[in-house]
């Protein structure tokens, strides 16, 4: 459930279809999202799931999988 929401938010920001989102997609190189976009994504995920992602994990998010892992580790 959480994974779907995370993917939905990322896909929305990357402006692509959720089905085309690859777990190994890199935010910068594949999805063309910069650091500001990434933090926007994280804040939206936090708000939607009512969680707080650890700051140390946050700065190491590079791929979609990293984002999912950081949510699962909360």
């Amino acid at each position: 459930m959480n994974a779907d929401k995370v993917k939905e938010i990322i896909a929305k920001h990357a402006n692509i279809d959720i089905d085309k989102l690859d777990l190994n997609s890199d935010f910068k190189n594949d999805l063309h999202l910069d650091s500001i976009d990434l933090f926007q994504v994280v804040m939206e995920i936090e708000e939607a799931l009512n969680i707080k992602i650890d700051n140390d994990k946050l700065i190491n998010i590079k791929t979609v999988k990293d984002a999912l892992d950081s949510v699962n580790n909360v």
């Binding site: 910069d34 650091s35 500001i36 933090f39 926007q40 804040m43 700051n55 946050l58 700065i59």
Partner: protein
């Protein structure tokens, strides 16, 4: 009465310079209430050094300090008792009309993006820095906020800069140039080629086309639009070259007794040049495109720059700056 929030602890020169600016301002005017953010004990101590009775201020104690090497977003998430984060809450709650800070640019931009939020129609708030030229002051946007930019953002910068320049410098139709590697329409990279078309198609903007870096010092445009990467490289090259020229002149003047005498003769002329190219008189750099007024001062600001910035902010508030900017995106 206007309420201006000011960051006492953000600059390299400490609280004293900020307090001195507030004191100097208050000697002449009594139309501003200052909300001073920072370490309360230090601020009280600094204020006690001045013999002034009519200082209209409140201190908002903020003991966390965002350092220049702190990660901007992480710092605004963790240092919630810092002057920058506290002031952003005051802005959102309407407790202050504007905020002045010489603190971390990254943190201020992060605040603008994530807490104060961009206005409708703007993707990325951006810093507008004034660069003195041999003609009119030139507003450089972007001076280094967004190093990887999109054509739409640069187009938005042009609209934001146009509104700001008109308001700040009372000029109806400021000229806008796009930094490129040639003046012809087809010169540039993918970013400038796409941006060119977007700006050109807006008839409300006085777009003069592509401009080259070598012509900017003569003041060929009022507003220079570029991405944060090229803008920052341009700005620092300009500053570095100007500094080098003055160092070389000084070196030559000091080289013999005859050149020293010559130096004394031309000293007033050199001082005039320095005054003409002193960007401090224009105040700080506003963050354009956010819902509240924030102005960034240089990290090494002294009281003179803070004083200019207080006047600048007062002008912007009186001229309803935020509403004007928002209106420019509703048309």
């Amino acid at each position: 009465m206007i309420k201006i929030g000011i960051d006492a602890s953000g600059g390299d020169n400490g609280e004293f310079e900020v307090i001195k600016a507030i004191v100097e301002y208050s000697k002449k005017y009594n139309d501003v209430e200052f909300i001073i953010f920072g370490d309360e004990d230090i601020i009280k101590d600094e204020i006690s050094k001045f013999k002034i009775s009519n200082l209209n201020y409140i201190i908002s104690d903020a003991k966390d300090k965002i350092e220049m090497n702190d990660h901007p977003v992480i710092s605004i998430r963790t240092k919630t008792n810092s002057s920058i984060v506290k002031a952003s809450k005051y802005l959102c709650e309407g407790k202050i009309d504007a905020f002045i800070s010489a603190g971390s640019t990254g943190a201020l931009v992060a605040i603008a993006q994530f807490i104060l939020k961009p206005i409708n129609g703007v993707d990325r708030p951006v810093l507008g820095a004034i660069v003195p030229t041999n003609n009119t002051p030139m507003l450089l946007v972007d001076s280094g906020c967004n190093v990887d930019s999109k054509p739409e953002w640069l187009y938005q910068y042009a609209i934001l800069a146009n509104s700001y320049y008109k308001l700040m410098f009372n000029k109806d139709n400021p000229s806008i140039g796009l930094l490129s590697v040639g003046t012809e329409e087809n010169k540039g990279n993918n970013l400038t080629l796409a941006t060119y078309k977007l700006i050109r198609n807006n008839n409300e903007l006085n777009f003069i086309g592509n401009v080259e870096a070598r012509d900017l010092t003569r003041g060929i445009c009022d507003i220079l639009i570029t991405d944060g990467f090229a803008g920052n490289v341009f700005l620092k090259t300009y500053e570095g070259t100007a500094k080098l020229i003055f160092e070389l002149i000084k070196e030559q003047i000091m080289s013999s007794i005859f050149t020293k005498i010559g130096g004394l003769i031309i000293k007033p002329a050199l001082k005039n040049i320095l005054l003409k190219y002193d960007a401090k008189v224009y105040g700080g750099a506003p963050i354009l495109g956010t819902n509240y007024l924030i102005v960034k001062c240089h990290g090494n600001s002294q009281f003179g720059e803070y004083l200019s910035t207080i006047s600048q902010v007062k002008t912007l508030i009186n001229k309803n700056f935020i509403k004007t900017i928002k209106n420019s995106f509703e048309r």
